[in-house]
């Protein structure tokens, strides 16, 4: 114990617990981690390559522009070169024309010179407008005055005022200027051509490089994407599997926590149905329960724990079991819910639950309802519908010490009580009152057989589909008659006797027993049960079973326990067995290894004259 005292338990919040289920315990295999690393690396590589390709492409663009500029400059410069030649030809023809007999076309050479000079200048301006490498620009700048001078000289020589003789004399000088300039200009043209070719080669190389980079980048990106997709697919599949598993566990748990079959309670007709949500991932904390209580009463539970996961289902199971225990101990309905609430705080359950706990007394035909924040039970009568106990009280686990109140109503003949969870109402947008009105309307016209009623209400309220939230619905109706055969299991506790007698009395009443007969048979049966309670079990209580059978006028009552009777002790004991023998036609007590069976038989008198006096 001392050892154990030092152990501390760290509480894990539910969300964290869930995360650990999904992630840490999922143990993503190493292979998947490698896929992740490869994918990431390939993405990084792709980014680098694409970046490179981008700069490459920029270079390609720059190179192409330079090639275009150089080509354009070369073209313009070659044009200028041609004008240079043309000007010389013009001047030459002007000198020759201006000779002996050529005044026929006066001014023609001058006009042609002017025209070609203008073109020459325009070509040079075109070259100036182009952005060229500095070395080339320098060459061009240096040559420019020579060119201007040459043009001006051509204009002057071809001018109309010029004396033909003078012209002829100056021609050799002009020819020299022409030749000198021609060499210079040819050199520049050649240089332009070479540079343009070089630039084109560089641009071509850059383009090829960029194209290769792009292809490499594309392949890398593709591989990376494939790797990442594979990884993501696997992760998603693992997660989906976990979620499905968790959901599966929660749903199985939920199913296990709902009663597999409702107990067969004498004088009570019961039907219930649970419908899981359409999404399937919403496992609800909805629960319902039917408890056979010590006094022949029936405990009805309809609850809803907040949340839709495994945790909610687990806490729901705790509440359900605790409620069962409290109720079966014979705690009053108010006390049951107050103790349940105390348990929530005492055990630090994170949950809040709405819950209706109702106790139906089939003999007295009363229903006692305590409603902890849940939707109110609906009482259906042949001609009207009423919600029971609609006064709001706090849900279980919400307030530290709530004082619940119970309301008891006498159930009218041919009535049915409906208990349900909010999923029945929540076609989300609908307001609470609207939902209640709709249920009342739907239930009013429903068949009164409990099974059919449940099916009908579910079908109409859910429009024939699956609900968004899960739904539990239970219908309970006190039967008009107990019938010829009644079997009940009672807690071996003195408090059970009253309920037992009331059931026996009702059964006898149905059998047509007279008042005295009824009293005597009831005493005999109660004596047998008293023996089971007093003698069969030690302090840990057990159960006894009562079986009532009527065949015509013959009654057989069997009380069975699973203990071993201790011999009667103290004064005035043993009178019970004597009473049983005196009051019944037959009373057999059989003690066996499995327990004791008391069989009581009596044939009822014909109903005519009231029978008085003790028999036997």
């Amino acid at each position: 114990m001392g050892q154990r005292g030092s152990v501390t338990h760290r509480s894990v919040p539910r969300a964290e617990g869930l995360r650990s289920i999904l992630w840490l315990r999922s143990g993503l295999p190493a292979q998947q981690l490698m896929v992740l690393v490869a994918g990431t690396a390939s993405v990084l590589l792709t980014v680098t390559v694409v970046n490179q390709a981008r700069t490459g492409l920029e270079r390609v663009t720059d190179g192409a522009q330079e090639v275009a500029r150089l080509d354009s400059a070369r073209g313009s410069f070659q044009d200028a070169d041609m004008m240079h030649d043309a000007l010389y030809a013009d001047v030459l023809s002007a000198v020759l024309d201006g000779g002996a007999d050529a005044p026929f076309l006066p001014g023609r050479p001058a006009a042609e010179v002017a025209q070609d000079a203008a073109r020459f200048r325009a070509d040079l301006r075109a070259v100036d407008a182009i952005d060229l490498p500095p070395a080339l620009r320098l060459e061009l700048t240096r040559l420019r005055p020579v060119q201007q001078a040459y043009i001006a000289e051509a204009e002057r020589l071809a001018g109309p005022d010029q004396d033909p003789t003078q012209r002829r004399a100056e021609l050799p000088a002009f020819r020299n200027a022409f030749l000198a300039l021609k060499d210079e200009q040819d050199a520049i043209t050649q240089s332009l051509l070479e540079q343009s070719q070089r630039a084109r080669a560089v641009a071509d190389r850059d383009q090829r490089g960029a194209r290769q980079s792009l292809v490499a980048g594309g392949i890398g990106a593709l591989l990376g994407l494939v790797a990442l997709s594979v990884w993501l697919y696997r992760v998603v599949r693992v997660l989906a599997l976990r979620v499905r598993q968790e959901h599966g566990v929660a749903e199985t748990m939920q199913r296990m926590l709902l009663p597999e079959a409702l107990p067969d309670v004498p004088g009570v007709r019961l039907a219930a149905q649970y419908v899981p949500s359409a999404e399937g991932n919403l496992v609800g904390g909805d629960w319902y329960d039917v408890l056979v209580l010590p006094c022949g009463q029936v405990g009805l539970v309809m609850g809803d724990v907040a949340g839709h996961d495994l945790g909610a289902a687990a806490e729901m199971s705790q509440l359900r079991n605790a409620l069962r225990a409290y109720a079966c101990e014979g705690a009053r309905p108010v006390e049951v819910l107050e103790r349940l609430n105390a348990l929530c705080f005492q055990q630090q359950l994170a949950t809040i639950a709405t819950c209706v706990y109702a106790v139906l007394d089939p003999v007295a035909r009363t229903l006692t309802v305590v409603n902890a924040g849940h939707y109110p039970p609906l009482l259906l009568e042949p001609l009207r519908t009423t919600y029971l106990d609609a006064a709001p009280q706090p849900p279980v686990g919400a307030v530290r010490a709530p004082e619940y109140t119970a309301s008891t109503c006498v159930l009218p003949p041919e009535c049915v009580v409906l208990l349900y969870t909010d999923g029945l109402m929540e076609r989300r947008a609908v307001a609470v009152q609207e939902g209640l009105d709709r249920l009342a309307l739907v239930a009013k016209d429903a068949p009164r057989d409990v099974e059919q009623l449940v099916a009908h209400v579910l079908d109409r309220m859910l429009d024939g589909g699956r609900p968004q939230d899960d739904v539990a619905l239970m219908a309970v109706a006190p039967a008009a008659q107990l019938g010829e055969h009644v079997r009940m299991t009672c807690l071996a506790d003195p408090a059970s006797l009253l309920g037992l007698r009331r059931t026996v009395q009702r059964w006898l009443g149905e059998s047509g027993a007279g008042e005295q007969e009824c009293f005597e048979v009831t005493v005999a049966c109660s004596e047998a049960a008293t023996n089971a309670i007093e003698h069969a079990y030690g302090p840990g209580r057990g159960y006894y079973e009562v079986d009532l059978t009527r065949t015509g006028e013959d009654l057989t009552l069997r009380v069975r326990d699973w203990g071993s009777w201790r011999p009667p002790r103290g004064q005035d004991r043993g009178r019970g067995t004597m009473l049983m023998r005196s009051l019944m036609d037959e009373a057999h007590v059989v003690h066996g290894a499995q327990g004791t069976v008391v069989t009581l038989r009596r044939t009822l008198l014909p109903p005519a004259p009231a029978a008085t006096g003790v028999r036997g």
Binding site: P494, Q516, F519, R575
Partner: protein, 117 residues
């Protein structure tokens, strides 16, 4: 715990107790202790009126015998009232209560009774 209503009062030097409802294993102890406490030492005895008792079995019979013994040991008397048409009467006869405890049809009769001795 189911508790039976029981009315207790003093009349003509006697303690009158009128329990109601079912007397069985579940209710008898509580009822017994309340009745026993209600009978003072100065009381001539107890008139136990069973006219409002709806059920009684061997545990109730046991109570009658026990009260009878206890009161006798204190020189006090027990008188039990059972109306003539009561369902309990045949049961009391069957158990031989009448031979140990005087039975009366009403509490008035029980209080007015003067023993012949």
């Amino acid at each position: 715990m189911i508790r039976n209503e029981v009315s207790l009062w003093r009349q003509d030097g006697w303690t009158v107790a009128v329990p109601e409802g079912d007397i069985d294993l579940g209710t008898v102890e509580d009822l017994a202790s309340r009745i026993e406490r209600g009978v003072g030492n100065d009381s001539s005895g107890l008139v136990l009126d069973l006219s409002r008792v709806t059920y009684l079995d061997s545990t109730g019979l046991r109570l009658l015998f026990r009260l009878s013994r206890q009161l006798a040991s204190r020189q006090q008397a027990l008188r039990v009232v059972v109306p003539p048409d009561s369902l309990l009467r045949p049961l009391l006869s069957l158990a031989g209560v009448g031979s140990a405890v005087p039975l009366f049809s009403s509490s008035v009769q029980a209080l007015e009774h003067r023993p012949s001795t």
